[in-house]
């Protein structure tokens, strides 16, 4: 399936998801068109609403990239959430330990510290996967809970700010705060940072031998071995990159938005990243768009509830539908037809997969 066909199919899948969601809103006793109008206007066309979308899109984008790179090497990193937490912790510890550096030095070093934290956290499942054959999905998932609790412990104990009513750390130095890109709002430069990383990763995968070889391992591990690519090292490299990206998402939340490390500071961004990655069909350059889309849905949900009275959980259902339909759209159809809708239905949801992948596994 070429990428144009794929993108068309994703577009149809999105439309279908919104249609089914529309019926849900209808059954809830509201006008779906009015609800969607509020949702999209408030999250993309309204100044404050869009700033809110940007704030959410930043960690989602980095978390999405943190899924895309390992997945391109054939490894499913669902540990983005934990890597965000450990990244946030490392970044904060560094920022608090060295509060007097100039911003041009301090901010990159905070990002570096966060990246190292995330990478270290990802290195454990990476090693287990590469050298012990342990399923990375289980390990990364379970390590998320460990990471969340490590941060909870840290901010409730060693890092707890004096007189804090709630588990959070001291504030990081003002100089380290990310610049605001939309005046008077919370919208910080995190999204711009993620956007440039997305571009770099796209070029890396497409135009450098190391990126190409990483992709090769994910496409056909045996052929990659035949081309002299070390599969184990590639898996580790991909996971370390993924971990660093998620770790930096943690730093963005700390020095971009909250300026402190909070207990439970990431609201599932690591998991949103999985949706971002698959919506983007694992293409880093599409990830900024899908991150904005998903962030917009999530930012507009609350407004929609206040304006129309539709329960915001409907939007969560829509998000779920998006995942199901897009996953279906990316499965090759059994017999091709000119109608995309028909293809989607017979190919993805109700058809059988055309090629068995057992030989490549």
């Amino acid at each position: 399936m070429n990428s144009l066909v794929m993108q068309r199919r994703v577009a149809v899948a999105l439309l279908l998801a919104l249609t089914v969601g529309g019926f849900l809103i209808l059954f809830d006793g509201h006008n779906p068109f009015a609800a969607y109008k509020v949702l999209f206007f408030e999250s993309f066309l309204n100044y404050w609403g869009f700033s809110n979308t940007l704030v959410k899109a930043s960690p989602m984008l980095l978390a999405g990239l943190a899924v895309i790179i390992p997945m391109r090497a054939g490894v499913f990193n669902i540990g983005g959430e934990g890597q965000i937490y450990i990244g946030g912790l490392f970044g904060t510890v560094f920022a608090l330990a060295a509060p007097d550096l100039p911003a041009v030095l301090g901010v990159p070093l905070i990002f570096l510290a966060a990246a190292i934290g995330g990478a270290l956290w990802a290195a454990i499942p990476a090693y287990l996967k590469a050298y012990r054959g342990t399923n990375e999905v289980i390990v990364t998932l379970l390590m998320n809970f460990v990471a969340i609790h490590i941060v909870s412990y840290a901010v409730a104990g060693p890092l707890l700010a004096e007189g804090a009513p709630y588990p959070y750390s001291k504030e990081v130095a003002e100089a380290y705060r990310l610049p605001i890109v939309m005046p008077r709002s919370d919208a910080h430069a995190g999204f711009v940072f993620g956007l440039s990383l997305a571009l770099i990763l796209y070029f890396w995968l497409r135009f450098t031998p190391s990126g190409f070889q990483l992709d090769l391992v994910g496409r056909n591990a045996r052929a990659a071995a035949y081309a002299g690519v070390d599969q184990k090292k590639t898996i580790i490299r991909a996971m370390l990159i993924g971990g660093s990206l998620a770790g930096m998402a943690g730093a963005i939340e700390v020095i971009g938005l909250k300026y402190r490390l909070f207990h439970l500071f990431s609201d599932g961004y690591g998991y949103d990243g999985i949706v971002v990655a698959f919506l983007a069909a694992l293409n880093p350059i599409v990830a900024p768009l899908t991150a904005l889309f998903l962030a917009g849905l999530s930012a507009g949900a609350g407004t929609m509830q206040r304006a129309i009275g539709v329960d915001s959980s409907v939007i969560e259902v829509v998000e779920g539908l998006v995942v199901v339909f897009v996953a279906a759209a990316l499965v090759a159809p059994r017999s091709s037809s000119k109608s995309i809708l028909k293809n989607l239905l017979i190919g993805g949801l109700f058809g059988r997969q055309k090629h068995s992948k057992k030989k490549e596994a």
Binding site: N2, R206, F207, T208, P209, F212, Q213, L216, R219, N220, R222, A223, A225, Y226, A227, G228, H355, K359, E360
Partner: protein, 509 residues
């Protein structure tokens, strides 16, 4: 002739390609019909229509006087039509019996069923080991299990898709014997093949296909082989002279040339202690084609992997020219000019989800010729691929297409073209003609000869003995992980090679 199966006007189109065009066929019980044709002639498509994998766009199928529509392989089985594919569909972890009875209702899986399986084995003289899982069986035995599976379901029409291409030479004769018995019991057998001598031996009639059309259905006994191949290749091709210069005599005595590859005392033992290779010694000279013959699974594949670096030998040394490469990485050996055409091109030699042009580059993407200014140059790759596509007449000729869109023969050409270009010092080819039609086989052989002529040492590993003998300057025979003998193909007998191929481990010492 009592007509049992009647196919009229069957057509099938894929996109712009007419895979089947007005196919007509009459067949009766107890007949063996060979289907002959080049790759892409429509043989497999016709079979797929008969067993319900594809629905024809037009035409009808009448079985025993009743028009049937075969909507799925399950429906085909109900109509008594079964097929043995080139790639078996057996569950590796299960035994023969479990595989044969799979999917049947409980009441049909009792002791009576087991007794019937054994009865079938006796009837057809099939040797099957019922105590081991399929994974431990040789290819020939797996194939017998597949056939038993179809027989157990009472098929009256059995389609065999290139059944002998996976078999060792010694397994072919007993297999054909079994097919003959099947036909004698009244089964209608379709035998898809492009080996004329086998068709001669087994089939009553031969149906020759070309470009999706039936060129003729002829009685085998009274049709000269030349006429069959003429119909298969198209008249225009057949008129051209087929004689080729005897390259072997024209070549220099290569044993005096420099050594291209020296394998000394190489052994490979698995972690479980199985000796896959045992004290292998080989010398290959520049410009020489050294054939490796042997029954499948006697260490030939592993030998190719040890030489190219995919597996590491347990002991022994490998010299490429004067350079020791015993412990070099795969990438280093690629850089040293070793080309390698692996046996499994689908899963190993190609990345089907990449474009044709990327497939020309993926094995050594960091090389200067694919780079410009430190970046991968899509333009340079496109240029190289375009030239190769032209030179090798790879179709469709658009290098931007995914490799999965090409037929098996054309995919093999990609691997061949890429590795021939790479081989400056050594070319290792494993089963290069497996599944290829006559024309494509000839083409591949010519390429290999040309490479050798340019001074590269070629290691030609294949189980197709006649090809090995035809192309090689010397032939080394492997059995049980050892080289049991090196012979000159011009003054040896098949009997001699057969003895070397089946030499038991004790005799070899």
């Amino acid at each position: 002739m009592e007509e049992f199966l009647k196919v009229t006007g069957v057509g099938k189109t894929f996109g712009a390609v007419r895979a089947l065009n007005d196919v007509n066929l009459l067949a009766s019980k107890g007949e063996c019909i060979a289907i002959l044709g080049e790759n892409g002639a429509g043989k497999t498509t016709l079979a797929s229509v008969l067993i319900g994998l594809y629905q024809p766009d037009s035409g009808q199928i009448v079985l025993d006087g009743v028009q049937i529509s075969v909507t799925s392989p399950a429906a085909a089985i109900e109509h008594g039509i079964g097929m043995i594919h080139q790639h078996f569909s057996l569950v590796d972890a299960m035994t023969a019996e479990e595989n044969i009875l799979i999917g049947l209702p409980r009441e049909k899986r009792g002791p009576a069923a087991r007794a019937r399986i054994r009865q079938l084995c006796d009837d057809f003289d099939f040797t099957v080991d019922f105590n081991v899982p399929v994974a431990k069986m040789a290819v020939g035995m797996k194939q017998r299990v597949e056939i038993l599976k179809a027989l157990f379901r009472d098929v009256s029409i059995l389609i065999l898709d290139e059944p002998t291409s996976v078999l060792a030479p010694t397994e072919v004769a007993p297999f054909l014997q079994g097919v003959r018995k099947l036909v004698a019991t009244g089964c209608l057998v379709f035998f898809i093949s492009h080996k004329l001598d086998e068709i001669r031996e087994i089939a009553d009639r031969v149906m020759i296909m070309r470009h999706g059309r039936v060129e003729g259905i002829l009685p085998v006994a009274s049709t000269p082989m030349a006429q069959m191949s003429a119909l298969m290749m198209g008249q225009a091709d057949a008129d051209q002279p087929t004689e080729k210069p005897n390259t072997k005599e024209m070549r220099l005595d290569t044993t005096r040339a420099a050594k291209a590859l020296v394998v000394s005392d190489v052994s490979l033992t698995t972690s479980s202690g199985a000796e896959i290779l045992k004290e292998v010694d080989l010398t290959l000279h520049a410009g020489e084609i050294l054939g490796i013959a042997g029954i499948d699974g006697n260490g030939q594949t592993e030998l190719s992997e040890v030489i190219t670096g995919l597996k590491r030998q347990t002991s022994g040394t490998i010299l490429l020219g004067d350079k020791e490469i015993s412990s070099s990485s795969i990438a280093a050996r690629i850089a040293d000019g070793i080309g390698f055409v692996p046996e499994d091109r689908h899963a190993e030699g190609l990345v089907l989800s990449l474009s044709v042009e990327e497939n020309f580059a993926f094995r050594s993407i960091g090389e200067d010729k694919f780079m410009s200014g430190g970046m991968i140059s899509r333009r340079a790759i496109g240029k190289i691929a375009e030239d190769a596509v032209k030179a090798y007449d790879i179709r469709p000729s658009n290098p931007k297409l995914n490799a999965s869109a090409l037929s098996g023969g054309n995919q093999q050409k990609i691997v061949m073209a890429r590795e021939v270009a790479r081989a400056r010092n050594l070319l290792v080819v494993v089963q290069p003609t497996k599944g290829l039609d006559v024309g494509a086989t000839q083409f591949v052989q010519d390429q290999i000869r040309a490479v050798a002529q340019s001074g590269v040492g070629v290691l030609y590993i294949s189980t197709e003995l006649e090809h090995v003998l035809e192309i090689s300057d010397r032939v080394a025979v492997m059995a049980f992980g050892r080289i049991t003998g090196v012979v000159n193909p011009q003054n040896t007998t098949l009997q001699n090679i057969g003895l070397l191929m089946t030499a038991s481990p004790e005799e070899v010492v």
